[in-house]
């Protein structure tokens, strides 16, 4: 079977090469035959990759330890679903998953655009295929997942216990769907430059593809944060770990693009900047894969260190240089149609939004790669960690929060003094009132206060925008109440979808504020029957118990939790000792309420029979997850808007 897998990857490589060559020839000679052949070859890449994935997953589930990859990442005691999910537990399998998603995007693109006989779309497919060449080459010649062992072991080495969690099963594929999806906007951008494409339809298309990937990437990042919160057991959800940063960077640049593309659609400005942002988003996605998989930086994720780092560096530098050269070569195509009239305007606010997003990305990039950079420049390795990022990124993030409020209520071209007065009074008052109300709750310091002010400001602007829209519609239609709102938002999904996303962002800001500023911590060794207090909770130890599971032995503390004297059940923080790795794993007991989470960790059973418990109260963490869901909903809502695409169509026709 492994030979078939190897062969499939090799053929996928050849098909990708054929696809690029054939389309290039077809475009040059203006022949339809080679173009069709090239498109079919891209379909074949997808099919062959799928074959390879099926073979590897079958081997993983059958515990076929003749495969090196299977022996490295699974064991006989592993549950079937985790065995299948081990596909992305290691480097080779992750790359294969990357290729599968990449070629699926290519196939989905070909399917969606099957009726468009415009060579421009063939050029897009060609760019996708050329990236597929890189990944198929790596998988075929550098790190094959189909290596066979001379002496297969009786049992495998097992899956890292950290990864044995339902979150592990969905987090990487969703994150990758986001990462890899930026291939399509990148391919569009490059194809526009290659074909000297004019017109505006492609901009709306790129916007939609970007939004789709952006949604998955953002959702994947939040799932990762949630996984860290539940599984890593340190009471937090974000540690500015290099791999977290790696996924954040393309998301930030993608966000910048989603904003500035509106200026291009509306005013025909910032064209070069937008293409540059698309290219940067894609390169950062590749860089993210590189960071995760190369082990160049110390991180909890870098369980695999290998030589593919150099290949990724070469690919990033090569493709980045080519894209830059193309942008310079096609300067005339990207000429701006308008100039910025005034700084205090919608365009101005978007421009600063962009500057700040890029600054945020730059600071994150610098901080993440600082050890490597400082060693290269000064010779001594200096590293920065969470305090650096909090210091640098928090103020930039807060400036962005304020812009989130200001941007939508500034008018296009030029905001006059009367508009400013009319639009800013209510949100400013709302912000000030919220700030005053928050002071007795213990909000102190400039950043928390700005967060409260900014959040209330943004929410007020969103409410105002909805109210204003309703007011305007009232004159036209007679619909009332809830119907009127539905009517309003479905008529302009993009606009109101955007506001919904902003509400989600505010929820996340408030959740982060609550859980960082108001977190409480307590730890104590307890005997059975003794209790400890944290906040208004009383934790009483009722005893310990042992439990055997399929791949681990569990030690659990049984803790009675009561709040203000009212018991609300038992909690069981545990430690699992995995048989395979002989490594303990902390399993957090979590009581979630909308207001705050009670987060319990079992430190361990002591020699004298006491049990060490560590407890955290994390206020408002639920708002972060809920905010993520609101953003997800807002994005899906925005994506369901096809009006603009149709309008572009009409104009083109």
């Amino acid at each position: 079977m492994s030979e078939i897998g190897r062969l499939a990857i090799l053929m996928a490589f050849l098909c990708a090469v054929w696809s690029v060559g054939s389309i290039a020839w077809g475009l040059r000679a203006g022949l339809a035959g080679p173009l069709r052949s090239g498109r079919n070859a891209l379909w074949a890449v997808c099919g062959l990759t799928l074959v390879a994935v099926i073979i590897l997953v079958r081997a993983l589930m059958a515990h076929d330890f003749t495969y090196r990859y299977v022996a490295e990442h699974t064991s006989l005691d592993l549950a079937p679903l985790y065995s299948a999910a081990s596909l992305w537990a290691g480097q080779e399998g992750s790359l294969l998953l990357w290729l599968l998603i990449l070629s699926t995007y290519g196939a989905a693109f070909l399917w969606l655009y099957r009726k468009r006989l415009d060579p421009f779309y063939d050029a897009v497919a060609m760019v996708v295929a050329s990236v597929a060449i890189f990944f198929t080459y790596l998988l075929a010649f550098i790190c094959s997942p189909f290596r066979i062992l001379a002496n297969p072991p009786a049992d495998g080495q097992g899956l890292n216990p950290l990864l044995q969690d339902p979150g592990m099963m969905i987090h990487p594929p969703i994150l990758y769907t986001g990462y890899v999806g930026f291939i399509i906007p990148f391919a569009f951008g490059i194809a526009v430059l290659l074909m000297n494409r004019t017109g505006t339809r492609w901009i709306e298309e790129v916007r939609r593809w970007t939004l789709f990937s952006w949604m998955f990437l953002g959702f994947g990042i939040l799932l990762g944060a949630r996984w860290a919160y539940i599984e890593l057991g340190w009471g937090g959800y974000w540690g500015w770990d290099p791999v977290e940063n790696a996924s954040l960077m393309p998301w930030l640049v993608g966000t910048a693009f989603l904003h500035s593309v509106m200026i291009e659609q509306r005013r025909g400005m910032l064209k070069t900047w937008n293409v540059a942002l698309i290219v940067l988003t894609f390169e950062l996605s590749i860089f993210g894969t590189f960071l995760t998989r190369s082990g160049v930086l110390t991180s909890v994720h870098s369980f695999a260190e290998s030589s593919i780092g150099a290949w990724f560096m070469a690919f990033i530098i090569g493709s980045g240089t080519l894209a830059t050269a193309l942008i310079l070569y096609r300067k005339a195509l990207l000429e701006s149609e308008n100039r910025l009239d005034a700084i205090v305007s919608r365009e101005g606010s978007f421009l600063f939004n962009n500057v700040l997003f890029v600054a945020l990305t730059f600071a994150t990039f610098l901080g993440t790669t600082f050890p490597v950079l400082s060693e290269a420049v000064t010779g001594s390795k200096i590293s920065v960690s969470a305090p650096f990022f909090n210091r640098v990124n928090v103020p930039i993030g807060l400036a962005l929060l304020l812009l989130t409020g200001a941007g939508p209520i500034l008018s296009w071209k030029r905001a006059t003094a009367s508009v400013l007065q009319r639009n800013f009074i209510i949100p400013t008052v709302a912000g000030l009132v919220a700030t005053l109300l928050s002071l007795p709750l213990g909000v102190r310091g400039i950043y928390p206060i700005v967060t409260v002010f900014g959040s209330a400001f943004v929410l007020a602007t969103v409410v105002m925008e909805f109210a204003r829209g309703l007011q305007a519609r009232k004159d036209v239609a007679a619909s009332r109440g809830a119907m009127a709102i539905i009517d309003l938002v479905t008529k302009n999904k993009r606009r109101y979808g955007g506001y919904i996303i902003h509400v989600g962002v505010v929820m996340i800001f408030v959740g982060v504020l609550g859980s960082t500023v108001f977190q409480k911590e307590a730890h104590e060794p307890l005997r059975t029957g003794q209790s400890m207090k944290i906040g208004d909770y009383t934790l009483t130890l009722k005893g310990t118990e042992q439990k055997m599971e399929r791949s681990a032995a569990l030690t659990r503390a049984v803790v009675d939790v009561s709040q203000n004297g009212k018991s609300f059940g038992e909690s069981r923080p545990s430690k699992a000792m995995y048989f395979k790795s002989q490594q303990p794993m902390t399993e957090v007991a979590l009581h979630q309420t909308p207001g705050e989470d009670l987060y319990l960790i079992l430190g361990g059973v002591n020699d004298d029979g006491t049990v060490t418990l560590q407890a955290y109260i994390n206020p408002l963490v639920s708002l972060i997850w809920a905010g993520g869901l609101v953003m997800l909903f807002g994005t899906i809502f925005t994506l369901s808007d096809r009006m603009r695409l149709r309008r572009e169509e009409k104009e083109a026709a």
Partner: protein
């Protein structure tokens, strides 16, 4: 003043503040990487702000008071060793011979590293080891 100039000025202010944030951030929170040998051979305590040390947990040196909780061990790079104290729960993957990274300050009086952060690198068990050659 025309708009281009204004944009330039505001952009410069933004870029300037971000640069300031980054530079001061590095200066105040940056931690120098050191090896155990470098640290052990120093006559004076290194930078007060702290530094980052990579090494291995010396076998048989772990003393863990779970009730405090306080973790003490010796960290080595094969040549020299230093004492480390960490007030916190022992990380799951922490054990003899594991690769660890600690951040903290060093007091010359007791020649002990007071760690504020302790990260255990994932054990190499999950990497290709001991599986032997590929079938040719």
């Amino acid at each position: 003043m025309n708009t281009t100039v204004k944009i330039l000025i505001v952009s410069l202010v933004v870029i300037g503040s971000v640069t300031y944030l980054i530079l001061s951030g590095v200066k105040q929170t940056g931690m120098q990487y050191m090896t155990v040998t470098e640290l052990a051979q120093m006559d004076r305590a290194p930078k007060a702000g702290g530094f980052r040390l990579d090494g291995i947990v010396a076998a048989g040196t772990i003393r863990y008071d779970q009730k405090a909780p306080r973790l003490q061990f010796r960290m080595t790079d094969g040549k020299e060793a230093v004492n480390v104290v960490y007030d916190g729960l022992m990380p799951d993957a922490f054990a003899d011979g594991r690769d660890v990274v600690v951040e903290g300050t060093f007091q010359h009086t007791d020649r002990t590293l007071h760690a504020t952060k302790l990260v255990t690198k994932c054990p190499s068990k999950y990497e290709a080891q001991g599986l032997g050659e590929d079938k040719s």
